[in-house]
């Protein structure tokens, strides 16, 4: 098999993994901020 395939799969997977992590970080931050919003709204309702 063409050796370029293996090199591409290796670096490609690494790049994808890094991308997934960065996206997951953004999602986690957004979720945390949304949760804070909900808590604040709950508190103002008291």
């Amino acid at each position: 098999m063409n050796h370029d395939y293996f090199v591409a799969m290796s670096y490609g997977a690494a790049a994808v993994a890094v991308l997934v992590e960065l996206i997951a970080l953004r999602v986690r931050r957004a979720r945390a901020l949304r949760r804070i919003e909900q808590e604040r709204e709950l508190e103002t309702q008291d």
């Binding site: 050796h3 370029d4 290796s10 997977a13 970080l25 986690r28 945390a32």
Partner: protein
């Protein structure tokens, strides 16, 4: 100087926010330099041709996976000794990135092994230990999230990380022993003499991985701080006023 100034989640949150982009930028620069040296400067290997260039991502990933576990255990030890919330949060923040590097090491190792050894998975000592390391990371994350009370999870996972860090050399040694008995010498890249450019590239990529890991950890710990300090005044003000 008050050494515990930045031990407060509130102050560390801001510091981490200012620092993280610089680490990501440094990672990108190191990676660009490392890939340039690795693909343009370093020559073709006599035995393995072009495919050996996978080591420029495989070896740094493997180094980082082990280093980050050690860092995680250190933060765990700090959190148990000083009972600081932030140390525990840092341990939790490091773990997913460590697991990521372990996965990358395993994946790239497989894609390096297929053309060189003929098989995607070869049960050699390092790769098998790396697989066990992945499970150690999963165990840490699973245990940390397995309790209603996050502080309980912090402490249990910290202790687990300490037990793991003591066992990791034993596991590696045992697998190495097992491997030399069951297989002959596996093809090792270290057997061939390494061109200086190859070493340079590996070091540059390692620096890139390290900078990235710090950036990712700082970013993640900010999210963890937001999750855990929901009820505090400063977090509420933050959400209202914007980042």
């Amino acid at each position: 100087m008050n050494w515990f100034y930045f031990a407060s989640p509130a102050t560390f949150y801001r510091l981490a926010g200012r620092l993280a982009p610089w680490f990501f930028a440094a990672a990108a620069l190191f990676a660009a330099a490392g890939l340039y040296v690795g693909f343009v400067v370093a020559p073709t290997d006599a035995q393995q041709g072009e495919v050996y260039r996978v080591i420029f991502i495989h070896v740094p990933a493997a180094w980082m996976s082990m280093f980050l576990y050690f860092v995680m255990a250190v933060y765990g030890a700090l959190s148990l000794s000083f009972n600081t919330r932030l140390s525990a949060m840092m341990a939790r923040a490091v773990a997913p990135t460590g697991a990521l590097f372990t996965f990358i090491a395993l994946w790239t190792g497989a894609f390096w092994g297929r053309p060189t050894w003929g098989t995607y998975w070869a049960w050699d000592a390092r790769m098998t230990s790396e697989l066990v390391l992945l499970f150690l990371y999963f165990g840490f994350l699973a245990l940390a999230s397995a309790f209603e009370d996050p502080r309980r999870g912090d402490r249990a996972a910290a202790l687990l990380a300490l037990i793991g860090v003591v066992n990791l050399p034993i596991i590696y040694f045992s697998v190495k022993w097992w491997n030399t008995l069951h297989q002959g010498s596996s093809v090792s890249f270290r057997g061939t003499s390494m061109h200086v450019a190859m070493l340079q590239s590996m070091l540059l990529m390692s620096a890139a991985a390290w900078m990235y890991a710090i950036g990712a950890t700082l970013t993640r710990v900010r999210a963890i701080i937001l999750e855990r300090e929901v009820r505090t005044h400063w977090v509420r003000a933050l959400a209202a006023g914007g980042p």
